[in-house]
């Protein structure tokens, strides 16, 4: 087609588009190479603050990264999610594609795999994300995504425990009419 090759990406992050386009047209890379090159450029430059290290800190002040790479003939579908302590997330996803038959690698497993594959283990925290986290703590951990726990998540930080009512509710449900004779 006269319109190929092509690179398209969300937002106005044209440096990432350029990096992918060069991979395709100058370095003779594949489509997968191009997407990894483009997204890696975005991670390194922390595009718009929403890509790469230093994003929103979680309740422990850590930042996690999600990434995926997919090829159009499905021979490998290796996303990584909630990756901690390793910055080049899409390159880790590419390593999952190249060196495993895994699909989704999440959390510590993803970080351990990345470390095995020789990726640098380093904090993803920046001054900004640390200050954001400190401010969040000073603001009684507001906002957060907790519900039905004690202490009251709308006024206090954790650690949290489930509210008794939920346990009671579960117990009630457990006893209602279910017996070894009518439930496999």
């Amino acid at each position: 087609s006269q319109y190929l090759p092509i690179v398209i990406n969300t937002w106005f992050v044209s440096n990432a588009t350029n990096a992918a386009w060069e991979e395709l047209t100058v370095h003779g890379g594949s489509a997968v190479d191009a997407v990894v090159a483009g997204c890696s450029q975005c991670e390194a430059s922390q595009c718009r603050g929403t890509v790469g290290f230093g994003g929103d800190p979680d309740e422990n002040g850590e930042t996690t990264l999600d990434a995926m790479i997919m090829d159009g003939y499905f021979d490998s579908l290796p996303p990584v999610a909630a990756l901690r302590m390793v910055k080049p997330a899409i390159a880790v996803a590419r390593a999952v594609m190249d060196y495993t038959e895994h699909t989704l690698l999440v959390g510590d497993q993803a970080s351990l795999f990345a470390k095995d594959m020789g990726f640098t283990v380093e904090t993803l925290t920046t001054n900004k994300s640390y200050i954001d986290w400190k401010n969040w703590i000073d603001n009684k951990c507001q906002p957060n995504f907790r519900q039905n726990v004690i202490p009251n998540p709308k006024t206090s930080c954790g650690p949290y425990k489930p509210k008794e009512r939920i346990e009671q509710h579960l117990n009630n449900r457990m006893n209602f009419g279910i017996s070894p004779n009518n439930h496999d």
Binding site: L4, I8, N9, V35, L65, L104
Partner: protein, 137 residues
Amino acid sequence: TIGMIAIDKNGNISAGTSTNGLSHKVPGRVGDSPLMGAGSYAMNGAGGAACTGDGDIMMRFLPSFQAVMMMKSGMEPSLALKAAMAPIIQYYPSFFGAMIAVSSNGTFAAVCHGYKTFPFCVASPSFHEVKVLKVQC
């Protein structure tokens, strides 16, 4: 989040995303970006699509997968995106989100909801340099 799709001159398609989830992902949790069919999707001979925005809502509809399946059935990227976006808008009219799609022959489109306009970038033989384009939401 960045969602990206590339098609090489032989027609092989790849899609990918990367995010730290700054604005929509629950910090420390998994968002929609790494989930196939939600964050992005690619199928040789059909096309590729990618999403950005409120992932916790968008992921429930696997919009990237939907858009690629529509293109596989011959729909133009812009119509495919509108069709993939429609159920999300129906059930969550106040959500924020955007999608891009490119069909296997290189025609592309973008769609958005909740923003005024949505910017995206394209590089192809049709343009001498990387183009930043905008779509009205």
